[in-house]
């Protein structure tokens, strides 16, 4: 609303309050203003650091990756960017290594994620029993989570060694001949998946356990009254009861699987690591990205691989949403 005194007239001398009162009102006004500013502004100030760091170091690079992928850039001269349009993409499309890496990422992802989550489900069910030493069992199953990719991969590489590795020794006890885990494609992929499974099963089990403890008891009682066995209760009460958590872990593991890098790199033991074995038999998209950028010095191509991974993730999410909706409709 317009004020009763037009601005052009200014403050008429007679209407001004006495100086002392005005100073007090001013101070009050200032304090009110500060208070309102605090109420309005503080929440934004509190959430700002997160968004600033995220924008600078995650969002901006993600977008800039797309721009770089349209250029020829070499690692030795990062500031010389030469526009090449979609050349990097067509080159990637025609590159057998890309399709090989994509297939490997997919197969390693499946053989590490599916058993991992199923075992986590079983482990969570066991941990949910009332029992002695439950804290010990929980901490013990989480311990692998405390080891780094580096340490875990080194140990498992040794356990999977062809001539003296413990796994081959145990297999020989049951009459299986020594397996060359490094050079056999499927054996190598299984070995790499084992590292992933070992590190993450306990973590996922704890997520499931938390969800299981929130499932209402009366559902079990009702199921028991209806004569459901424990196995049926597990299938019909527990699993539907923690469906949201299961979807959450599937999403997390899928993201983890598309990024797989350290395990195959270290499993390759040095020069063979980056290429994912002598015949690329376990090269993942993460490794291909690194090979293009930091071994072949082609940063533009590396950026292209990164965007291919991003598109792949979007595809996975779309599929997951469709599946989720279909599942929700069925129940």
């Amino acid at each position: 609303m317009a004020t009763s005194t037009p601005i052009s007239q200014g403050g008429a001398p007679g209407t001004a309050p006495p100086p002392a009162k005005r100073a007090r009102e001013d101070r009050q006004g200032l304090r009110n203003l500060l208070h309102r500013l605090d109420l309005r502004g503080a929440p934004y100030a509190f959430v700002a650091p997160f968004f600033v760091v995220f924008a600078a170091f995650s969002f901006y690079p993600l977008v800039y990756t797309a721009w770089i992928s349209l250029h020829h850039v070499e690692l030795s001269s990062l500031n010389l960017m030469e526009w090449v349009g979609f050349d990097n993409y067509t080159a990637l499309w025609n590159d057998d290594r890309f399709w090989n890496a994509l297939a490997n990422t997919f197969t390693i992802g499946v053989i590490s994620t599916v058993p991992q989550l199923l075992m986590a489900l079983g482990l969570a069910h066991l941990l949910n029993y009332r029992m002695r030493g439950s804290t010990f069992f929980r901490v013990a199953s989480l311990t692998p989570y405390a080891t780094s990719v580096g340490a875990a991969a080194l140990v498992f590489t040794m356990l999977f060694e062809r001539d003296f590795g413990m796994i081959n020794w145990m297999l020989s006890l049951v009459g299986v001949d020594h397996i060359d885990f490094e050079n056999n494609k499927w054996a190598a992929q299984i070995a790499i998946s084992t590292i992933v499974i070992w590190r993450w099963t306990g973590y996922n089990a704890l997520l499931y356990l938390a969800a299981m403890q929130a499932v209402p008891r009366d559902r079990y009682e009702a199921a028991a009254i209806d004569g459901a066995s424990r196995w049926q209760q597990f299938l019909k009460v527990t699993v539907p009861g923690i469906r949201a958590t299961i979807v959450f872990t599937i999403v997390l593991s899928t993201i983890g699987a598309t990024q797989l890098f350290g395990e195959p790199l270290i499993f390759g033991q040095g020069p063979n690591g980056i290429t994912g074995g002598a015949d690329n038999q376990y090269q993942t998209l993460g490794l291909l990205l690194y090979e293009e950028g930091w071994k072949n010095y082609q940063m533009g191509r590396a950026a292209t691989v990164a965007w291919a991974m991003f598109l792949l993730l979007i595809l996975v999410f779309v599929v997951q949403r469709v599946l989720k909706r279909a599942l929700a409709r069925r129940s």
Binding site: F57, S58, T245, G293
Partner: protein, 310 residues
């Protein structure tokens, strides 16, 4: 002004709905009559056997790391492999420490993980408090954005990030590892969930009535309430930052590595001393194992608390 001068009401004045005590007692009797009906069955022998096996699988590789690290290379590379510790532990640890420059790597990892964990906890608590208890326009949209950012893997921006760090002159420097990870979406979400439940609205309102501004309320009311969750978040973030491999491997080199990066040095050579490699792996894991032995229960509780329920 101290915390005490704020009119803090610790008791929740709202009447509790229902009579939880009565109902649990009734339920307990029914459970006692039909022991198989409840959720928490007592474990049978089979459950102990299976869990024991799971614990064995979880712990054996760590035990065996120690066995191999205490043997010499010829013993480790024999079949059958050793199952009991040998006499060379200290000797191998010392050699691995020198060969992989683990001293420097440990200091680096300690700095990186410490700074990242501290800043993650601080910013996550600030943002979590805002999302849980303060009202502002666009709150829900911003929270959805935070959750959405969990889906963006760090690999997707790694090429420009590397260029950025080179431009900034941070190549091979610790800030290149620290800055991109100063905040965490999971952390923000975790603190929001915790504070929404643990911090009564009345406490915040009482602070306001007393004339405290938001930062003061954060300092005097939120921080004390949030302390247990902050401790858990600190440990989880520390473990993650310590173990992080991909980005440090790209941006750091062997002259200035973190522990996981330094460990790759041990296996990359052509002459491979297996017991030495295992000694390095053991050294790299020991600090976190110690953390787990002391705080294992809290870390387990924290991960379970942060889980999505439902």
């Amino acid at each position: 002004m101290t915390t005490d001068s704020l009119p803090v009401r610790t008791a929740d004045p709202r009447p509790r709905t229902g009579t939880p005590e009565g109902s649990t007692r009734r339920r307990r009797t029914r459970l006692w009559l039909r022991p198989r009906a409840g959720r928490q069955h007592h474990a049978g022998p089979l459950a102990y056997v299976l869990l024991g096996f799971a614990a064995l699988v979880s712990l054996f590789p760590l035990y065996w790391t120690m066995v191999a690290a205490s043997s010499d290379n010829t013993r480790v590379t024999q079949s059958p492999p050793p199952f009991l510790p040998g006499p060379h532990l200290l000797e191998n640890l010392g050699k691995a420490w020198r060969d992989a420059a683990l001293g420097k790597a440990m200091v680096n990892s300690l700095i990186v993980a410490g700074v990242i964990a501290l800043s993650t906890v601080l910013f996550a608590t600030l943002a979590g408090f805002a999302f849980a208890k303060l009202r502002f326009k666009g709150r829900n949209a911003l929270l959805m954005l935070v959750i959405g950012t969990m889906m963006v893997p760090p690999q997707l921006g790694v090429v420009p990030l590397f260029m950025m760090m080179t431009d900034l002159g941070w190549g091979q420097q610790l800030p290149a590892v620290i800055f991109p990870t100063l905040v965490s979406a999971v952390g923000v979400f975790f603190m929001r969930q915790y504070l929404a439940e643990a911090l009564p609205d009345e406490l915040v309102e009482a602070g306001r009535v007393d004339g405290a501004h938001s930062l003061r309320i954060f300092w005097s009311i939120v921080l004390p309430v949030a302390r247990p969750a902050m401790a858990v978040l600190f440990m989880i973030t520390f473990v993650h930052a310590w173990n992080d491999f991909f980005w440090p491997f790209i941006v750091l080199d062997m002259t200035n590595p973190t522990v996981p990066v330094a460990l790759t040095q041990l296996s990359a050579g052509y002459v491979r001393d297996q017991s030495l490699i295992m000694a390095g792996a053991l050294l790299g894991t020991l600090p976190l194992l110690a953390l787990f032995v002391v705080f294992g229960r809290q870390i387990v509780g924290g991960i379970m608390q942060g889980a999505v329920k439902g």
